[in-house]
Chain length 112, copies 2
DNA sequence: ACTAAACATGCGCATATACTCATATACTTG
DNA sequence: CAAGTATATGAGTATATGCGCATGTTTAGT
């Protein structure tokens, strides 16, 4: 992003939208659960403890942002992470936050 | 983030907040301008074309999130990027978006 | 002490969006 | 075709937040 030409407003809004998609705890929870692999909606509802309607909406948001991929199989719909950069994104943010929080309490599990 | 222990809700909210800070075009604009180095508020107002009040608020948000560092010098206040992970974050998102948009129009400049 | 400059902040408005409830749609099975 | 299951969506509400306007606060100069 250290480019000579500044990003136009259109591009900035796209980047902002991208970050906004990741700015909700429930969506992060879904992403985290999907790190283990593809899951159908019902499994995600149970894993997250959310309501079916709400989970469905979040899945729609994540899919429209091309973060998740949607695969329909009979009655069920399976979702999976489709953008590999999500892994690094989350690692970066977690690492940065851990550094910041080292001075304070340990909200994060153990290490790394 | 592919850890065995799932992140607790507290941590997820922290991560979400982190992303939310980066989910505003004007804040991204500020960050982009600051990639070139430390600047005072007036310079940032002129560079972004925003109002002084609004820029000041965004700077406060970014500083509270430890994305920027604040340095007071006489009448002026200088801001600079304090979290180096911001660079990689923006690169990752931009790269991912460019890939997605390759099929469509070229909103981005030339492409690194 | 007064004035001016640089920055921050209280307040109100408008908009966005996450959530819940109820209902609709799509598909399978009998 | 009827009924049931899995998922999606429309409507309404509550909360959050970005913006503009006006004003407050801090510091420098005379």
């Amino acid at each position: 992003m250290a480019r000579k030409t500044p990003l136009p407003d259109d591009a900035l809004e796209l980047v902002a939208r991208r970050f906004a998609v990741l700015a909700e705890p429930m969506r992060l929870r879904l992403i985290q659960v999907l790190f283990a692999g593809e899951k159908n909606v019902n499994a995600l509802v149970e894993a997250t403890g959310g309501t079916q309607a709400n989970i469905s909406r979040h899945l729609q948001t994540l899919t429209q942002a091309n973060v998740l991929a949607r695969r329909k199989e009979g009655l069920q719909v399976f979702y999976a992470i489709s953008d590999p950069s999500i892994f690094k994104l989350c690692e970066l943010v977690c690492g940065s936050l851990e550094k910041q929080l080292t001075k304070q309490a340990g909200v994060f599990g153990g290490g790394r």
